[in-house]
């Protein structure tokens, strides 16, 4: 065959294969359902708000549309758990899936515009709303926005009418590529959002709802944009339910380690999501659990792999998650072959966090990292352990140190340079005289203060003195 004909054939083969590959990766059934229902929900909500300009919310003109809206919402909640409707400029997203709101009639930005009048960018339905709740929602949007804090006013108005499961979020905009998130970051907000996302993920999984990876992936991306080594993240540790906070911390540690070994951005995203989901097997609905006869340390690995494998749509990230779930406690199982990289990373991150958390090991971070180091070559990959040690340092973030002058600090930085391996930056918690600091202060232990003692908890620290 002439070379040019062969070249064309190769191009056509490549395109055919790309489409086939993409079709293997899609979950047409679910994605279509979410998009269709999401579009319906957004369209109906918009219709309700517009109709409220003509009729009062309690008018019977709303009987049918409200019932339809409730039915649509119910379908979505049953599939996905809490439903997050987010408007961004002229687009609408439902649980991070973009829906085709308004495209058919040429009015894509109108719903967002209606919500923005009340400084609302998103609405979260935490449960199926009753007809009364929906009418209250309509009535709220029908009123002119309150001066001052229109979103708060709207929330209070709904609260007065007994609406408890609808939550409003602020305005969103798109972030352009290359635009730094640093300038606008709200780390505390990010950690809180992450906590809620992970908590919802556990709740949804335990009730048999579909696992939606997109919000998790978005959360991981935000952390990567800030940088897992960034002090602000270590300075705002997760504080939710133990298992939720553990997942967040394991995610953070895994990203730190993954970034330190130089993994590509997209692979880091996959790693973060896998770390968030590594223990999801614990949340398997009881009626679906088939491993109850096994120790839960083993059972949750297998159940987690099953849950992750069931989610439709082939993707490399999914393969990695399944393997990570199966292998992250492999020394309790009979697993052969070299553990996959994600599993090795998550194992270190998880064991480290379990050693530290008070409900489990209760060790200090330096003690925990020494335990990890002791397992290098047997339980843990020695190369990864060394990178982990090089990154976290002698006094990992979270370490409570009493300095020679009696003050107490909490470490908030990872290793900044090899020469600073044992001299991180730390937030001052208690002054030398036992007083609480008047204002936030961070010390650089490379230049000021010297650690005298490692404390396992603030209980062991001198209590800040009160002056009468």
């Amino acid at each position: 065959m002439p070379d040019d004909q062969r070249a064309w054939l190769d191009v056509q083969d490549r395109l055919a294969q790309a489409i086939e590959r993409a079709q293997v990766g899609e979950d047409r059934h679910l994605a279509q359902a979410v998009r269709e229902l999401g579009e319906q929900l957004a369209t109906q909500l918009h219709g309700l708000i517009r109709t409220s300009r003509l009729y009062a919310a309690d008018n019977q003109a709303f009987d049918k549309p409200v019932a339809e809206f409730r039915a649509c919402l119910e379908q979505l909640v049953n599939r996905l758990g809490p439903v997050h409707l987010v408007t961004v400029e002229d687009q609408v997203y439902v649980n991070d899936v973009r829906v085709r709101f308004g495209e058919k009639v040429g009015k894509p930005g109108e719903l967002g515009a209606e919500l923005r009048k009340h400084n609302v960018g998103s609405i979260t339905f935490h449960a199926v709303a009753s007809d009364e709740d929906i009418r209250a929602l309509i009535a709220g949007f029908a009123r002119p926005p309150a001066p001052g804090s229109p979103r708060v006013a709207l929330t209070r108005a709904l609260e007065k009418r007994g609406v408890k499961h609808i939550e409003f979020g602020g305005i969103y905009r798109y972030l352009m590529a290359g635009e730094s998130r640093q300038a606008r970051r709200d780390v505390h907000g990010l950690v809180e959002r992450a906590q809620r996302t992970v908590d919802q993920m556990w709740g949804n999984t335990s009730s048999g709802k579909v696992l939606n990876v997109l919000p998790l992936r978005r959360m991981v991306t935000e952390i990567l944009d800030i940088g897992p080594e960034d002090e602000s993240l270590w300075d705002n540790p997760p504080r939710g339910a133990d298992h939720v906070a553990h997942a967040q911390r394991v995610n953070h540690l895994a990203l730190l380690l993954g970034k330190a070994i130089g993994l590509d951005h997209s692979i880091l995203q996959d790693l973060g999501v896998a770390a968030l989901l590594h223990d999801v097997g614990y949340a398997a609905p009881p009626e679906d659990v088939r491993t109850s006869h096994l120790p839960h340390i083993v059972a949750h690995c297998v159940e987690g792999a099953r849950l992750l494998a069931c989610r439709r749509g082939f993707h490399e990230a999914k393969v990695r998650r399944v393997l990570a779930s199966l292998h992250h406690h492999r020394d309790n199982q009979d697993r052969r072959g070299k553990p996959p990289l994600f599993a090795r990373i998550i194992r270190i991150a998880e064991d480290y966090d379990n050693y530290v958390r008070p409900e489990a090991g209760g060790l200090s971070p330096p003690e925990a990292i020494m335990c990890i180091a002791a397992g290098a070559g047997t339980r843990y990959d020695p190369l990864l352990v060394q990178v982990f040690v090089n990154t976290l340092g002698r006094f990992p973030p979270g370490t409570l140190l009493q300095l020679t002058d009696g003050s107490v600090v909490r470490v908030i930085s990872v290793v900044r340079a090899p020469s600073l391996f044992a001299t991180p930056r730390a937030r001052l918690m208690v002054l030398f005289d036992g007083a609480a600091p008047n204002e936030p202060r961070v010390l650089d232990l490379a230049t000021e203060g010297r650690p005298a003692k490692i404390l396992r908890s603030m209980d062991a620290a001198p209590k800040p003195r009160r002056y009468h």
């Binding site: 056509q12 293997v24 340390i297 099953r306 494998a309 490399e316 399944v322 393997l323 190369l383």
Partner: protein, 579 residues
Amino acid sequence: MPDDYRRSVGPPRWRTSPPAGRASTAPPGAGLPAEVGYAIQSLSRASRSFSLYDPHNDAVKQLIADYKDRMAAVVRNAPVEVEVLPFEMTYGGEVVYQEADRERSLAFRLFRDGVRKIRFDAGTTWDDLVTLLEVLSVRCNTVRQQEEDLVTLLRKARFAGIVVESVEGYVPDEDRPEQAGLAAVTVETGGDTYEPPQDWDQPLPPVSAPCSVSYQPVSDAALAGLREEESPDGLAQSAVRAVAEILQAAYGLRDVKFRDDVMSFLDEVQEYLLVERNLDALSKLAVTYEKIYGPGHALPALQEERAFERLLRSVPEREEPVPDALWALLAGVPGDHVSRALAMLELGPRGARRAALLDIVARGSAADASMLLERLPRARPEFAHDLFEILARVAPDRRIDAAFDLLAHPDEGFQLELVEVIARGARGIRLARALQTLMASAHESVRIKAVESFGALGGARAVPVIAEHARRLAARELSSAEAEAIGTAMALASVDEAKPILLEWANAGGGIRSLIARIAKESRADRMLTYAAVAGLEHCPGQECDAAIGAVMSRATGDLRWRCQQALDRRGGRSGDAG
């Protein structure tokens, strides 16, 4: 709205509804903006084409060729930056593409998915352009995936010369957040809550003697080795491992529901491996599956109706060895492989795939060649010869049955082979008809061989047939080699029948006819028949044959004269001029 809450973005800067009127086709202006517009249109058409046509269709090829040509103009003038708006694309502020139909509009699709600019730099390669087309085709033709959107796919593409500017997700954007005011308002998240077991993730690994830690540099090579574990090349292996381990778990649990739950994952991995044409990995999966579920349990993918075709489509069409893994996989596919292979050969496969299909036919026909014999007559010329060769290996004595149906095959070598087969195996009227058909071949070598065989086998009845054949050929084009063969064949078939005709051709009669023949120049046709006559008379006894040859020699020139001399020499006659 209070000023404090005025959105930092403000109203959209672009049109959010489509432009009025029908979509434009050619963009305004001339020169580079027009070229850019044509290029964008060609990209749009090509990426949408897969919803209508199979990627291997000629129409698609034309569209891709057009895209290549159009983009060449853009790349020649690089850098070219195109801004993406909801319904338009602009270059240098000028609208170069506009399409109001959301289903057809490339601008709309790109904008909606977050793309805001595309820049083609001087380093843009054809590979970049194909990759761009690949990504857009996927988006135009599949449902949005759960893990990757258009922007992610474009980022992963790692273009050499194309830069894409896009949105990177959305972020909160408020000048004055209302968080503080909301703190006092609680919303019941309701929904489902979850509590893990009290001692989850325990027991912890036993705490051995802690080991002191210190900074130890880790080499780049070592880190590269770690990263390499997650390279795309390892995905197939990882996928096979993941599904094998989870199936092992299902089997170990002896739980049907668990197994059923994970079957979808097995389906996906099988599908992925078939799409990636990775027969090695699929074969490993098949082995693992059988190990887990017992001998005779074949992969579900191999039990499907289309399994055979899909496996063979996974064999590349390049000139390379047939993957060994194919045979192991085919062993698990039920049904008639020979007829399916013959059907696939009709599609004109090349390279290893063609070789594999022929091999399947050969293996399947070794025990029973009836299907091969049945289909051979209808086989396309491109592979009929190959099938005939298979028949020669698996059932040589049955070649004669097929040979008669293949006489119209255009290939010269194959026709020569058919002459041989027929001459060896056939008799009577079938032989005569077959050889006559081949005597009419477009290839001289085949005609020669056929007439020789006809002469050797046909007997006296062959002579008039060959003579008529010679006259027809002489009227068109008859070479001396063929004339030679004809004359000889006639003589060998029957001297008694052939001699009078040969003598006539040699104009051996005396009188005015011979005189005229000496004076007038012969036509080419007559000359060739004379040539045939000389060749034939060489084998005929009698002095009149010597005389006839001599007479021809006396008036001949060139190679005919030389041939006459040769004939006489062979007959033992005297050389020299007759008159």
